[in-house]
């Protein structure tokens, strides 16, 4: 790992672009500049990779969440919608 830290100017400047970069919405010029920087800065590469992984893990985890049947039944009951309760 190189000596370069994120308090140093260039890494700090690029920090503001990271969200757009992982979303693929960063403008072409800034994107090229960031990728050029990433080639020479292993710390920033770790930050970008783990940032992307963080977003991905939350996505994956959310897909597995379901509404518990009892919560659904109580909600329908609270809203006087029992007649419309289909089997979950």
């Amino acid at each position: 790992m190189d000596e370069h830290t994120h308090e140093h100017g260039h890494c700090r400047d690029l920090l503001g672009s990271l969200s757009d970069y992982v979303d693929g919405t960063l403008g072409e010029l800034l994107c090229a500049e960031l990728e050029e920087h990433l080639r020479g800065c292993s710390n920033c590469r770790v930050v970008v990779d783990t940032l992307r992984k963080t977003v991905e893990l939350y996505h994956m985890e959310a897909e597995k969440e379901a509404l518990p049947p009892t919560v659904r039944e109580r909600l329908f009951s609270k809203l006087d919608l029992e007649d419309y309760l289909k089997s979950g």
């Binding site: 509404l67 909600l75 809203l79 419309y84």
Partner: protein
């Protein structure tokens, strides 16, 4: 959740029970998930879920269609969650970073590359607990932006509409939230990453 579901808005506004039941059926799993992650507590999430739909039912006749129906529901749900959080003790309600919207983003501290860990470990029961714990370290304003954008998949524009803030504020809060979560997860996994390096040597 999006409006591909094609609800009959005129019927909803006119008080059609069957259409409202369909709306609840289709949207409640995602609204509950959002509330559970906003509040970090099942009982609180269920209370907020019921209150949000009661409020939606009362407000439907006045729905002005300036935003999509799903964005409107998310807005009601987030407001319910924020109200619940305000009711709690102040030390629980206040995160470390209380909606600071300056562009000066704190620098990443942790540099453990946890991408190298197996997915089965990152997504294990313990791994998921860490994901949930980390979300609770965000201040409520950052948490709301992160959950709407990255978990519920709303666009920046829709997130801004749901929260009543500008798109720039959404972007700034999203970056802060993501970096904070990344730091939290890196700190948590750092020992495992170090151990794996040693195993590999």
């Amino acid at each position: 959740m999006n409006d591909r579901l094609n609800f009959d808005i005129a019927a909803l506004k006119a008080g059609d029970r069957s259409e409202f039941a369909r709306l609840v059926e289709e949207t409640s799993p995602k609204i509950y998930r959002l509330l559970l992650k906003m509040l970090g507590d099942e009982a609180d999430a269920e209370d907020a879920l019921q209150d949000a739909y009661l409020k939606a039912l009362r407000s439907l006749p006045n729905f002005e269609e300036r935003s999509s129906l799903s964005t409107w529901l998310y807005r009601i749900a987030v407001n319910e969650a924020l109200m619940q959080i305000r009711k709690r003790k102040p030390q629980v309600a206040l995160g470390e970073d209380n909606g600071d919207d300056s562009e000066d983003v704190p620098a990443p501290v942790e540099l453990a590359d946890f991408c190298c860990l197996p997915e089965s470990e990152l997504m294990s029961g313990e791994g998921k607990q860490q994901l949930n714990r980390a979300v609770q370290t965000l201040s409520p304003p950052l948490r709301a932006v992160f959950l709407l954008r990255d978990v519920e998949d709303l666009s920046v524009r829709e997130t801004a509409d749901a929260l009543g803030v500008s798109e720039q504020v959404v972007k700034t809060r999203l970056l802060r939230a993501r970096l904070k979560l990344r730091d939290e997860l890196s700190a948590y996994w750092s020992e495992r990453v170090a151990a794996q390096k040693v195993e590999g040597e």
